[in-house]
């Protein structure tokens, strides 16, 4: 089973060792979105934090498990942002939401189940991308 973790899952693991059943599960094939990697690097404010992210990314990069999006994915993202109703339009100016959209599409790109704690953004994303399999923690 392919799985992808949202940034909040990694942050909870790095800070508090939360969700060991996900992070240490030998029976899943773990993938990393390059948007998650970007968000983790954005939160690495110290040398120690940089070393932690380098350690994390190394085996994913070595195994070719870092997911990058293609042109068609970005067209889809643009179309979703364009189709969002007035009530959700503020989300189109929110970098975190756009990253989440990219993370959702990354999961879809490799057929992975996405694990996240962010119900509010991903419920909206799921309404536009019903094929994405999401598990809310």
């Amino acid at each position: 089973m392919k799985v992808l973790f949202d940034t909040n899952i990694y942050i909870n693991w790095i800070r508090e060792r939360k969700y060991p059943e996900l992070m240490l599960d030998v029976y899943t094939q773990k993938y990393l979105s390059n948007y998650v990697l970007m968000e983790l690097w954005a939160g690495a404010k110290t040398k120690q934090a940089s070393r932690i992210i380098e350690k994390l990314q190394k085996p994913y990069l070595k195994a070719g498990r870092v997911i990058t999006l293609n042109t068609n994915h970005f067209i889809t993202i643009g179309q979703i942002l364009s189709d969002m109703p007035i009530t959700q339009k503020s989300k189109t100016k929110n970098a975190g939401f756009i990253n989440d959209l990219c993370i959702g599409l990354s999961a879809l790109a490799v057929g992975a189940i996405l694990f996240t704690t962010n119900k509010s953004d991903f419920k909206i994303i799921k309404s536009f991308l019903p094929q994405v399999k999401i598990v809310y923690i």
Partner: protein
């Protein structure tokens, strides 16, 4: 790590092999077995990295 191949004679579940050929999108049984083992090793390396970084309390959440 340099790859070294040796001939092995062993009993393997043929149903698993048939399924693995499809899942891994490979043509030969040899490729299927080697690819499956490669995935196990890659996963172990990822899990070891997770073990090393867990609980180090060093990252800030920038995006909500």
């Amino acid at each position: 790590m340099e790859s070294a191949y040796v001939k092995k004679t062993m009993f393997i579940n043929t149903n698993y092999i048939k399924k693995a050929l499809k899942i891994l999108d490979v043509k030969t049984e040899k490729e299927a077995v080697n690819k499956a083992l490669e995935i196990v090793i890659e996963e172990d390396e990822i899990i070891n990295a997770h073990k090393e970084i867990g609980g180090t309390d060093s990252i800030q959440q920038v995006f909500k």
